[in-house]
Symmetry: C2
Subunit: 212 residues, 2 copies
């Protein structure tokens, strides 16, 4: 999960802003994981050492505060695949999706590793916090839009096919992270995602097999 392009050596002000944003995000994630939905924006602001008014300058809602830790992987994937699809016009789309997924879900540094660990706790906290889950869903919605855009430009598939493929591919990424976060497997998120994307491309045989 690269999440940030090598982090250009920025000015003091910019570095402080980035540090504050990350501090708020960590604080919010910890509080949501610890106390569930019974956390106020003021709680987060105070614990992060900023004024409530400042908190809302960084994030539009209190749930949004966890986005930097929660949705980085999805964002990276959506951006990465658009780039890759343009850069390698020969590559089948399935492979574009796989490579971008592997890159986005393989932690590249300590920062990305930490975000992935927070993701685990946040996905758990979502179980009984709809507003928090909405952040997750919104990120995936945006990734779907990006996918629809790429598919519409690079295939001749019809509207249903395009939207369906976007939903299924994004669903594969989402399922991979959710299965990993639930502790239902030993595989790494990146491996799960690649496997999921291949399944989607090849078909789901247990839907056509006779049950019994």
């Amino acid at each position: 999960m690269p999440t940030a392009p090598p982090s250009r050596p920025s000015s003091l002000t910019e570095r402080r802003k980035a540090a504050t944003e990350l501090e708020i995000a960590r604080t919010a994630a910890a509080l949501f994981a610890e106390r569930g939905a019974a956390v106020t924006a003021e709680d987060i602001a105070r614990a992060a050492g900023v004024a409530p008014r400042t908190f809302y300058r960084y994030f539009r809602t209190k749930e949004d505060a966890v986005a930097p830790l929660l949705t980085g992987g999805v964002r990276d994937w959506a951006e990465g695949l658009a780039d890759l699809a343009a850069r390698e016009p020969e590559l089948p789309l399935g492979e574009v999706l796989e490579r971008a997924a592997r890159e986005a879900l393989t932690p590249a540094d300590a920062r990305a590793e930490e975000a992935l660990e927070w993701t685990r706790g946040l996905l758990h906290a979502m179980q009984d916090n709809p507003a928090l889950r909405a952040v997750w869903h919104r990120a995936h919605h945006e990734s779907e839009l990006a996918l629809i855009d790429v598919l519409a430009r690079t295939t001749t598939a019809g509207p249903l096919e395009v939207r369906l493929t976007a939903a299924a591919a994004d669903g594969a990424l989402r399922a991979a992270v959710e299965v990993w976060a639930a502790g239902e497997t030993d595989e790494a998120p990146a491996e799960l995602a690649v496997r999921g994307i291949r399944l989607v491309a090849a078909g789901l045989p247990w839907l056509t097999e006779r049950r019994g």
Copy 2:
């Protein structure tokens, strides 16, 4: 979209409650479609002829007010397929999904027809109203949970496969309704959904084909 089991001949009080709920839902849908997100709970309440306090007895948030018109189809689908899977243990799961989808998305009466029409307007209003879109996504999240439950009980597929199938199948239903609502096709929602489910089961060839 049956949405309501034949509507048992209820008491006066119950019929009034149902009428009030529907009136609020219609009012909310009309206001959201007309004015976007710039609608207050008080606006909806006043236009529907109830007190704000009463409004919040019917719905937890102002966006939830549109749920009876927006999410009926998805709910019917999720419930229908659980029933059907149990009732016809021989039927391949793909066919269970298809039949339930056809039933849930084929308007059964004027009430269902109306709801489907509102759905169109609401899906459009969602474009610039994240809170409204969250209602849509939450309904699909619940449908996914129902699907995961059915799949876990009736197949031997692993955790990734189960979650992935749930995401893809629900995604097919969602894509079908969204494509229809966007006016990108002449097909009916039910036909689109069935076609989508079959695609998911059989695989998506344009992901493996070489581009050009």
